[in-house]
């Protein structure tokens, strides 16, 4: 009797799981597309700010320094707002946060058209846009991590390649400003940013949109299990095949709400098969997954999360410090040479056309190397952070040798090498974080890591400028970037020790 019941639900469950797996795969590409669009538009907006800068200075008035505050607020709030945004994401879910972010950006653009003074613009364009960008970024990044379990590195690299397209935004913006003035341009930009609303709708939440089919199967499994044995052992036996199917179908539910299990005695060391995708499952995350399964099966209404408002747990985690140290220094190493590449070419006597040629080559090489690095990382031939560390070391070595490049061919070679290694490590930042902490806690970790990176990003360009003023040569910028790139992987040496420390603490 029971076997027959087991078989029949099995078949449609398998079919359904295949169907949802296909749908889930399709939605993963939708998420990647959305992230790509976010990269194009956000980065494009940040980069074309320089064109608006000129228009603002002339027409709205204000000194150069005052107007550049707008740009600084916009780009730094993108990182600094991350912890706040991560809280919002956890409460509301990624999709509403992303739509909120798109709304903030579009609203900020539209509001800026009415601007009459620089402080107004600082708020409407700097603050609103910066906050909107960080909402969009956080939601998109975490959703990509949640959806693209198998090929995260490649999907991340694919989405990041959107940054390479931003060079198209500059002439487009210039054209718009010449035709419509800066107010008309901002109006049209507001409309373009609104396009992020439908693409945000592609970020389908994984848990709430669970089709009731497999949930019904889950109920069936629970019912049969309950019928046979009320013991925990029986429960876990009966539900193992169901759960693993469900997991592969929906690529593991991931709610961070520690909802209390409802009538089901879920065992803590749960299915290794289900958690196979997660590279470093912590005991907490497995507990969370089984408990959420329990609640769904019993069809209990979702309880209000009893989580603290701002989750400070990353700050107590040594893994977080390892990652943030590396993140901070690698960002410093990334931005500074790009800023000074063209200037260095100019001081060596090359024309500005050569300089922009170098920048174009750098952009293309970086995009290609991101894709390659992501593809290689996904094959899991070695741990992802080993590749990350290798890229960082090579980048540091290239930067230290950078000052030796004094002719155009050598500088071109340096640019290609530097862009290749930068692309390599940039593509792996998100996958490495996912490897280290898992997807459940990604929001809070990413939020805080971005916050600290934001401080570095704010300080980077002025620091580089100060270095130049102090030493009167760009050589120091490259040495500085090389030093940063070499400092950043040091923290990864402590990673195995930190993991052991964590496990020991968890077992106590």
């Amino acid at each position: 009797g029971q076997r027959k019941e087991d078989e029949e639900p099995e078949a449609p469950a398998a079919g359904k799981s295949r169907g949802t797996k296909g749908a889930a795969g399709g939605w993963a590409w939708g998420v990647v597309f959305h992230f790509f669009l976010v990269n194009v538009l956000v980065m494009g907006m940040l980069k074309t700010f320089g064109i608006f800068f000129v228009a603002f200075r002339e027409e709205v008035g204000g000194s150069s320094e005052q107007v550049s505050w707008i740009g600084s607020i916009m780009s730094s709030l993108r990182f600094l707002g991350a912890p706040l945004v991560s809280v919002v994401c956890q409460r509301l879910g990624e999709r509403p946060t992303s739509i909120l972010g798109a709304g903030l950006v579009a609203g900020g653009c539209l509001l800026s058209t009415q601007a009459t003074s620089v402080p107004f613009l600082c708020f409407s364009m700097g603050f609103l846009l910066g906050l909107g960008f960080s909402c969009l970024y956080q939601a998109a990044a975490v959703m990509t991590a949640k959806r693209c379990r198998a090929r995260l590195a490649f999907c991340n690299a694919l989405a990041r390649s959107g940054m390479g397209l931003t060079f198209l935004m500059a002439p487009f913006t210039q054209l718009l400003i010449e035709s419509y003035g800066w107010q008309g341009t901002l109006l049209i930009f507001g409309g373009i940013m609104l396009n992020l609303v439908p693409s945000s709708m592609l970020l389908r939440p994984i848990s709430t949109h669970l089709p009731r089919g497999p949930a019904g199967i889950q109920d069936q499994g629970a019912l049969t299990a309950k019928k046979d044995l009320e013991s925990p052992g029986g429960c876990s036996d009966g539900s193992t095949p169901r759960e693993s199917q469900l997991h592969s179908a929906q690529e593991a539910p991931s709610t961070e709400r520690p909802v209390l299990p409802h009538g089901r005695d879920a065992s803590a060391p749960a299915n290794p098969s289900a958690l196979g995708r997660l590279e470093k499952p912590t005991p907490e995350s497995s507990w969370l997954e089984t408990s959420t399964e329990a609640t769904r099966s019993s069809k209990a209404p979702k309880k209000k999360p009893s989580q603290p408002l701002l989750d400070f747990s990353p700050l107590k985690d040594p893994i977080f410090f390892i990652f943030t140290w590396s993140f901070l220094f690698s960002h410093l190493a990334y931005f500074v040479p790009f800023f000074h590449l063209v200037a260095r070419a100019r001081t060596l006597g090359m024309s500005s056309r050569d300089g922009s040629y170098l920048v174009a080559v750098a952009g293309i090489t970086e995009t290609l190397s991101q894709l390659l690095s992501g593809w290689v990382a996904d094959h899991d031939w070695t741990k992802k952070y080993h590749l990350h560390v290798t890229h960082l070391l090579l980048c540091g070595a290239t930067n230290l040798l950078g000052p030796l490049a004094t002719t155009f061919p050598l500088l071109l070679a340096y640019t290609v090498a530097f862009a290749a290694f930068c692309g390599g490590f940039m593509a792996l930042v998100l996958p490495v974080l996912v490897d280290l902490v898992g997807v459940e806690k990604l929001h809070s970790y990413l939020g805080f890591a971005a916050f600290f990176a934001g401080i570095a990003a704010m300080g980077g360009p002025p620091l580089a400028g100060w270095l130049y003023d102090y030493t009167q040569t760009y050589v120091c910028s490259f040495l500085f970037a090389g030093a940063c790139a070499l400092l950043s992987p040091i923290s990864f040496c402590f990673e195995p020790a930190a993991q052991k420390w964590k496990l020991k603490k968890a077992n106590l």
């Binding site: 008309g184 109006l187 049209i188 409309g191 609104l194 709708m201 592609l202 089919g213 019904g216």
Partner: protein
């Protein structure tokens, strides 16, 4: 080859105690189009224009003539390899083009253009919207006595002064060498060419600005088109999700019904 540069030439750095500015052109001896220099003179002053022959040039001992326009100037001074004239500029009649012609085997020449300072306006049109206010600024390197603004009405140039409605135009002198015209409550007719004229002791000079007044509809049309496209996308995705949710619910209900029946 020969270069035809038309930038303002600042004094060569040699200022004699009698406050004479010296401007010099070096000729290389290759014949071609004449070398030119523009010299801005704002107030009465004395200038010395000199043509110097490059050491490596082929021409030796040429015959040098200084001309203003087509009239020859007689009082020329010669030193080792340079020929110069002194010009006292008292009014606008002394401004013009002074050329030195060196005749040897070939004839080479250089021209100095003495003129009132140029005014920088704006090359690109200034874009404003109806109902908004436009600010136009004219700057120059020298200090003029007075500024006047003109707007073009059809083909005529009409001066903007007190006869114009006071609430429409506001002119103030931003600094000694800049002037600012603010046009309020713009309408379509306010678009067109505007001229700012600076009066110097030696003459007048004009700068050009173009004002374009767009209606608010102009950028609004693409904006509305984009918003419409966004709304279409949002509705499509919404409908798709609603439809697929209904389908799954129906399938789920059916299956549950079957299972309950079987039980």
């Amino acid at each position: 080859g020969p270069d035809v540069t038309t930038q303002d030439l600042k004094p060569a750095g040699k200022e004699n105690p009698s406050n004479v500015s010296v401007y010099e052109i070096v000729l290389s001896g290759v014949s071609g189009s004449p070398l030119e220099r523009n010299i801005s003179v704002a107030s009465p002053t004395k200038v010395e224009l000199s043509c110097k022959l490059d050491k490596n040039s082929q021409i030796k001992n040429p015959q040098v003539t200084w001309k203003k326009g087509s009239d020859t100037i007689s009082h020329t001074t010669k030193s080792e390899n340079s020929w110069s004239i002194q010009v006292t500029i008292l009014d606008s009649s002394q401004l013009g083009s002074y050329s030195c012609i060196l005749k040897g085997k070939q004839e080479i020449s250089a021209v100095f253009h003495l003129q009132v300072p140029k005014i920088e306006g704006k090359d690109k049109p200034i874009i404003t919207y109806e109902g908004d206010a436009a600010v136009m600024v004219c700057k120059t390197d020298y200090i003029p006595i007075a500024w006047t603004w003109y707007m073009t009405n059809g083909s005529k140039q009409v001066a903007i002064n007190d006869s114009m409605p006071a609430k429409k135009y506001v002119i103030n002198r931003q600094s000694a060498n800049a002037t600012r015209l603010k046009v309020l409550q713009l309408t379509k007719e306010d678009g067109g060419l505007y001229w700012c004229e600076a009066t110097f002791q030696l003459g007048k000079s004009k700068g050009k600005l173009e004002l374009k007044v767009l209606s608010i509809m102009a950028p609004l049309k693409p904006f509305v088109a984009i918003v419409a496209e966004v709304v279409i996308f949002v509705t499509t995705i919404f409908l798709y999700e609603w439809y697929s949710k209904k389908k799954e619910k129906r399938a789920g209900d059916e299956r549950e019904f079957d299972q309950i029946e079987r039980l």
